[in-house]
């Protein structure tokens, strides 16, 4: 998604380009994004704000937690997902694994 400049032309300062990874996130402000978090947590929500640590504020954030439970008798692994919605959520950046912009978020 990097905007290419014709060779030899000075780069217009006003143009929105992706110079570094967080610029991608800047373009996703006010869009619904997908965030994969540590410890098998996922978030989907509207991005209101972020900073360079990937601290974020998400609106209408839907969190999905996947847990493995082991049945004590059969010892079978059961994957369980729990979901909850939080109207306005601050997410601390150190738990973020990846952020995906809206075009690839269902």
């Amino acid at each position: 998604m990097v905007t290419k400049m014709p060779e030899g032309e000075a780069e217009p300062v006003s143009l929105v380009t992706i110079k570094e990874p967080v610029d991608l996130i800047r373009l996703s402000v006010d869009e619904r994004i997908y965030v994969k978090m540590r410890h098998d947590r996922e978030l989907r929500g509207r991005l209101h704000a972020f900073d360079q640590h990937l601290n974020m504020v998400l609106g209408e954030a839907e969190e999905t937690i996947t847990t493995i439970e082991v049945d004590e008798e059969t010892f079978e692994e059961v994957y369980k997902t729990t979901k909850r919605t939080i109207p306005m959520l601050f997410v601390r950046g150190d738990g973020v694994i990846l952020v995906s912009p809206p075009s690839t978020t269902s």
């Binding site: 098998d40 847990t67 493995i68 082991v70 004590e72 010892f75 692994e77």
Partner: protein
């Protein structure tokens, strides 16, 4: 020293107060805060380590502690009204350590039995059941 900006979180108000400090490994310390810095490194005096098992608790005297800030989860001034022993039953150090060991052994035994059975079936113990949330 009283010129720090308002609405800014600072531990200066907590100096010389009796605090409960929760550490990342789950231990709780109770002591008087004598010094603090920007990393939330804490110097605690007359510290005791308080162990809770169910409704019972016991204190182990620990003396002076310097706690490295990154190991602090949260802390708060002990509310004199709330600390009253009537909420929980105080038992001896020996008793509380025995109770704690029972509790831990039960947990370890359960985890081991699951691990053994999974191993027999060629599966790995789910690493997410291991408490590594703070790593």
């Amino acid at each position: 020293m009283n010129s720090f900006p308002p609405r800014t979180a600072t531990l200066l108000y907590e100096l010389d107060k009796k605090l409960m400090v929760l550490l990342r490994d789950g231990r709780t310390l109770i002591g008087y805060l004598r010094s603090v810095d920007q990393y939330a490194n804490l110097l605690l005096q007359q510290t005791v380590e308080r162990i809770h098992v169910g409704k019972k608790f016991g204190d182990i005297p620990r003396g002076v502690f310097l706690v490295r800030g990154e190991n602090v989860v949260l802390l708060g001034e002990i509310d004199a009204l709330k600390e009253a022993d009537q909420m929980f039953e105080r038992v001896s150090i020996g008793d509380i350590l025995a109770l704690q060991k029972q509790e831990q052994d039960a947990k370890i035994e359960k985890a081991k039995s699951i691990e053994r059975s999974l191993k027999r079936r060629g599966m790995r113990f789910p690493p997410d059941l291991v408490q590594d949330d703070f790593l």
